[in-house]
């Protein structure tokens, strides 16, 4: 990766252009493909420019949590594969991959995107667990938005396996009902560099951001936020970022629905 000076980047942004020629509030091209792995209950690949992420959903039966005896569970995990970037190392999950999956998790959970009550098999005993696994295949920046979109796309195609009353487990030979995905949360990550706000940062830009804000929303309602980076944001900046984020999320949702 090329090293770029922050002053150079800001001088470009002053003229209203990005390193790759985009406008400040413009995403790279987003492509979504579905059913990329047939043993998953739902799966999808999302490319945002050169960034590529795949997500798969598996359903398993398990016990409900004591405080929600009639609801299924969601578990999101993310892995930065060694093949995606020369800086990624094999081993226990990095703190970045933990943050990434937790922010995807919050977008889905807090928006109540999945009707968890419909995932109850037997109250207090058996529920479906929705396991969403996200893998980074090529990192060219903005893994957060690509991961959230991949998770959403995979969920939108997920079918629940048959439940075998005898073994009390899932029967993966047969998949029937669609997962009750009732809302579609999308995430937009914005960056602040100097006085400029950009969306969909490149890897080179990510290293130079003063601060980052990820906005998860459905329609006009914000359902999760995560501030990143060591710098600060003013209330005015946050307001601007929220507005841009909500707009971008509505646009990007169309790519999944198509």
């Amino acid at each position: 990766m090329e090293l770029i000076s922050k002053n150079y980047l800001i001088s470009l942004l002053d003229k209203g252009i990005r390193l790759d020629g985009r406008k400040l509030e413009e995403y790279r091209k987003i492509e979504v493909s579905y059913d990329i792995s047939e043993h998953a209950e739902g799966s999808a690949r999302v490319k945002i420019g050169d960034t590529e992420v795949i997500a798969g959903v598996k359903l398993e039966t398990g016990e409900p949590y004591p405080d929600s005896p009639d609801e299924g569970n969601i578990i999101v995990s993310g892995e930065f594969l060694g093949l995606a970037n020369e800086d990624f190392e094999s081993g226990p999950p990095s703190v970045e991959s933990i943050e990434l999956s937790r922010v995807v998790d919050r977008g889905i959970r807090e928006s109540k995107a999945i009707d968890l009550k419909k995932l109850c098999i037997k109250e207090k005993e058996k529920v479906w667990m929705v396991l969403i696994d996200i893998y980074v295949i090529n990192d060219a920046g903005n893994l957060q938005d690509a991961s959230a979109l991949a998770a959403l796309a995979a969920l939108s195609k997920t079918k629940i396996p048959a439940y075998d009353e005898e073994t009390k487990k899932a029967d993966y030979k047969e998949r029937k009902e669609k997962l009750p995905l009732v809302k579609m949360p999308v995430e937009c990550s914005l960056g602040k560099i100097g006085k400029h706000i950009i969306v969909d940062p490149l890897l080179e830009e990510e290293k130079l951001l003063d601060a980052r804000l990820t906005v998860a929303s459905i329609g006009k309602v914000v359902c999760a936020l995560q501030k990143g980076g060591n710098g600060t944001l003013s209330i005015e900046e946050i307001e601007k970022m929220l507005k841009i984020g909500i707009d971008k999320n509505s646009e990007n949702l169309k790519v999944v629905k198509k």
């Binding site: 792995s37 798969g56 598996k58 696994d133 295949i137």
Partner: protein, 232 residues
């Protein structure tokens, strides 16, 4: 028990349909995708690059380090993400399968990292991984004596077969799986494992048909590499 016809209609010495593609991961120094039937493997190569921790460095030659992993949703029963005993062993045998083909003598103190990911599994994943890795190494410009081709051979019921699928591996009349890797130019074998029971004569015969299948696989690998480097 007689296995008279293969469950997917193939001839006994026929592999499943193969698709190979080079250059699938932009960040990597070399990468490839190898699909055989419903088994899909991708591989990426990074290096030669500095090897850490430093005490692992070898001043006489570079190190080949392989990492094999199955995505959690690549099979029916979800696999817990992260390394397992199985994936560590397969990483090791993958290294051994590829090592004889690569020349790392000039890359002193360095490492060449190979990452293999199984996207979708229907038996033969380690062999698909080795095929993808070998193409990725060539794509990365690592000096090589030959491309490594790999396939599983074995016995299903009473028949010797090439490239077992999952249904054949689980055949109720008994199945023996023998994954092999071959350096096609000299016919030497760099991976050999076996699970099940076979007689010496059968093993020899299985290796012969496996070698023939690997020659065909190597042609497909070469064609995919040429496709990327054909120029305009």
């Amino acid at each position: 028990m007689s296995y008279t016809k293969r469950n997917d209609g193939r001839k006994f010495d026929e592999t499943r349909e193969i698709k190979a593609e080079v250059g699938v991961i932009k960040n990597a120094d070399g990468s490839a995708k190898f699909q055989i039937g419903k088994t899909i493997a991708i591989a990426a190569v990074y290096g030669p690059r500095n090897l850490y921790p430093k005490f692992l460095q070898n001043p006489e030659k570079g190190m080949l380090r392989c990492n094999y992993n199955m995505l959690s949703f690549s099979v029916d029963e979800r696999i817990r993400p992260g390394p397992s005993r199985r994936s560590k062993e397969i990483s090791l045998v993958t290294e051994r399968a590829l090592s004889p083909a690569v020349d790392l003598s000039t890359f002193t103190n360095a490492v060449v990292d190979v990452f293999v990911e199984i996207i979708q599994a229907d038996a033969g994943t380690r062999c698909a991984g080795i095929c993808a890795a070998s193409m990725a190494l060539a794509d990365a410009g690592i000096p090589m004596r030959d491309l490594v081709a790999a396939v599983s051979v074995g016995k299903v019921g009473d028949k010797l077969v090439v490239d077992l699928n999952k249904l054949e591996e689980d055949y109720e009349g008994g199945a023996t799986d023998v994954p092999i890797a071959v350096l096609p130019r000299n016919g030497e074998i760099s991976l050999l494992q076996m699970d099940g029971e076979m007689e010496v004569k059968e093993i020899k015969e299985a290796l012969e048909i496996g070698k023939k299948a690997c020659e065909k696989i190597a042609e497909i690998q070469r064609k995919a590499l040429k496709e990327k480097y054909k120029g305009d």
